[in-house]
Amino acid sequence: MKTMSQTRVYVTAAACMGLLAGLGLLSLRAADVSVRATIEPRQVALGQAAQLTVEVTGASSARISLPQVENLDIVSRGTQSSLQIINGVMAQQSFYVFAVLPNAEGQYVIPSFQVEAGGQKVATAPLALKVFQGQGQAPPPPAVAPATSSPYVAGNTAPDPQAPAPAPRPSTTTPKPVNVGNETVFLRLYSPRNEMVVGQVVPVTVKLYVRADRQAELVPSPLKFLSDAFTVTLPKKLEQDQEMIDNTLYNVGIWNVAVVPVKTGDYTVGVEQSIRVAERVKMRRPGGLDESLLDAMFSQYRMVEKKVQSTTQNWKISSVPNEGKPENFSGAIGDYTLTVKAQPDKVKVGEPISLEMTIDGKGNLDRVNAPVLTSTDGFKTYSPTSKVELRDDLGLEGRKIFTEAVVPLKVGSLPPISFTFFNPDTKQYVTRTVEAPRVAISEAPASPVAAVTPTATPSATQKVEEDAKPAEPALVPIKVYLSPFVANFTPVFRNPLFIAAQGVPLIALVAGFLVARRRQRLENDPDYARTHEANRTVRTQLEAMNTAVARNDAAAFFTAARRAVQFRLADRWRIKADDITFEVISERSTELADSLKSLFLVADEMAYSGEAHTDVTLADWQKAIVSLLGRLEKKV
């Protein structure tokens, strides 16, 4: 009673303050009424109290109709009020504080209750409270303890405005609970599709429902898919929630998993999870006492491990179609976009360009290969590096960035870049082709010193390399052309063969000197000149003799023969050839005169008298004269 009186005093005081404020500040506007109920802490040990606070904003007083909850005593602890005027808006807040005293352990829900304030009736959200046995030093294990280290979140029907929004789930009808043994625990599998292709990443949700008034914990073993046709990626963190099904509150553990089919065929798919559930074990009790009280006093809980299996689904898995499969399809399945950047925008032939190609979208990003240049003519390409940036833990969505160095080998422009994937929604292959960014490629300078000075701008290849190393903008990139090999560093002039080879032109030079010197010496000698001239003339006359013999021209023959003999003898006797007559020959050599008498006689007759010697055999004469000339030359 005393407490109620205090409450009335506080309410009256608050009402008076509100009245005074209203009288004094008639021009001010009153705020709307809102009500918020919270309970702290959400878990308490048996024998301790939780605090229920009803916050009323926008009204000076309120009437609260608290509900009756079995085994919970709710006692008022007082009221606090405050009045604020901000920017001409009057804001009045009242806090009604209650102590919640549990009488037994268990999971309790304080249902929604009515708050009447400012002439309005506002309903609060239901509140959950867990009561456990103990002295309150440490809370017991959570009702559904995940195998991972994620914190357990007890169901609080009053949503926390700071909490993140729950992950979207497939819109399916919440199933009715299925009793497993004596406990109400069940497992459900939700898939957005029943037909999929090998390699496709499919998001699947698995929910484990445990009735809120049951204590349960997960066995530390992974969720098991009852089929080997998939690889499964489990989440790092198990999400938890509470759902009300047929006026029964359930704690829900949620796995958002990624499933990738690896085999084709029709499969019946289900999941299985082991869980330990608390079962009440009745003990012997003295007779004659109240049974409910005795149950509470003489019962204890035992954790029983159970395997919970979901209902099954039929999934059909096929491979990507061969029909219409592009040549450059590399296994990417999903829906993607392609963007390309290039740096720098001006290069010279031989300088690398760094292409950054980003594949963004949903699908199996880990199996996405780099986009390709539609033509590599005139370009030298290198293996790209890649990095993946995922937007979720399961790798369902994100982007993959490829960085590839391309070196232009001639002036031109970058070709378009294409990427092919299979879209499982449309069941078609899609090729995304984008125009490469414009990069001005110019001829390499004849003297590229300026382009490679240490202060030059970092090249594209360098940027590719910088994934592993800090930026070093001045190092000139590696060379892409192989220069000739040499066996060693020894200068060629140390090679004996090279040294010997230099003797060849030297020997030629010496030989030239010798030849020239000899020639000069001979040219300066009149005897040599005469002999040289005699030899030349004799050779000429011999040729004339041959011609004459062929024509049977005796006159020409004997004229040539006499001339040849004259030159040969002139050289021998060092006189002029025209001075050689038969008389001169007779004076100098009777033997020679005998040999040449007939020759000169016939020649003179034919030359001066015109007598024709048709009976002469020129061939015989030729032999004799050649023989004679040979003898004369030897004697010379």
């Binding site: 290198y382 293996s383 590096t385 160095a405 003297s447 590229p448 010193v449 490679v452 000075t453 240490p454 030059a456 290849t461 590719v464 390399e465 994934d467 592993a468 190393k469 070093e472 001045a474 190092l475 000139v476 990139p477 590696i478 060379k479 892409v480 052309y481 192989l482 220069s483 000739p484 090999f485 040499v486 066996a487 060693n488 560093f489 020894t490 200068p491 060629v492 002039f493 090279f498 080879a501 230099q502 060849v504 032109p505 030297l506 030629a508 030079l509 030989a511 030239g512 000197f513 030849v515 020239a516």
Partner: protein, 290 residues
Amino acid sequence: MRHVTLDVNPCCRAALCAAAAVHRTALQFGTKLILLLLLILLSSGLLHAAPADTAFDAANRAFGSGKYTEAISGYENLLKQNGYSASVLFNLGNAYYRHGQVGLAILNYERALRLDPRDPDIHANLKYARTQSGLPQPSERWWRVLLKSLNPSQWAWAASFAFSLLCLLWVVRLVRPEWLQRVGVSTPLLTPIWRLILFLNVAVLFLIVACGAMSVQDRHEAIVIVKQASLLVSPFDKSEVMTTLPEGDSVNAEKKYGDYVLVRYEKGKSAWVNQSQIATVEPDLLKATP
């Protein structure tokens, strides 16, 4: 048909005519032999080119992927199997630099420079590696820069060619002076050209002598390939340390004693250093040193 007449000065005309004469001579006498030699050279080159190119590309890809250890291994294997190539040595230098081994990077840049002394990329990276390591940039006089524009072998070939040309022209002038007149080199013109060629040849011969001397000087250059090389008073393990040299610094290797090499690290200053701490720019030079 349109005829174009060019005014060519006599020197150029003579040179063109000489070239034409040589060309005709080659066609007449040596075509088959040249073709045969070319075929042999080409086939032998092709036989070795394909695997070397593949290995080179593989090492480059490893480099591009940031796998510097793999790239180093690839380039080293290429050198081991095929000999020395300026581009391979340059890339190896880059790989070592990226791998954090500045001394070996500088060593390979120096080696690449010996093979291709006019490559600006090698000069740039060598300078950069030295700068990043806090090493001073060697300042060289203009004539040394000029001499280094070709490596000793290139100078030798240039001199050999000039000498052969000189001898050939001299022989022609001695034996067949009418050939020179036939190609347009008149006797009055012959004398100045002759003197010019003689002068150029003497100059080239002088250069090769100078280059040879410089080559002997630089031939023993060695690079410190460890983080810090200890210069010792004597070639023994427990000898007193005189001073230390940073990685990438260069010394001149003078002689070897056991595992130690006597190096000249400053003008007039010598000390002993463990052979494992340095590497000569010309590979295997220390092994050849008694």
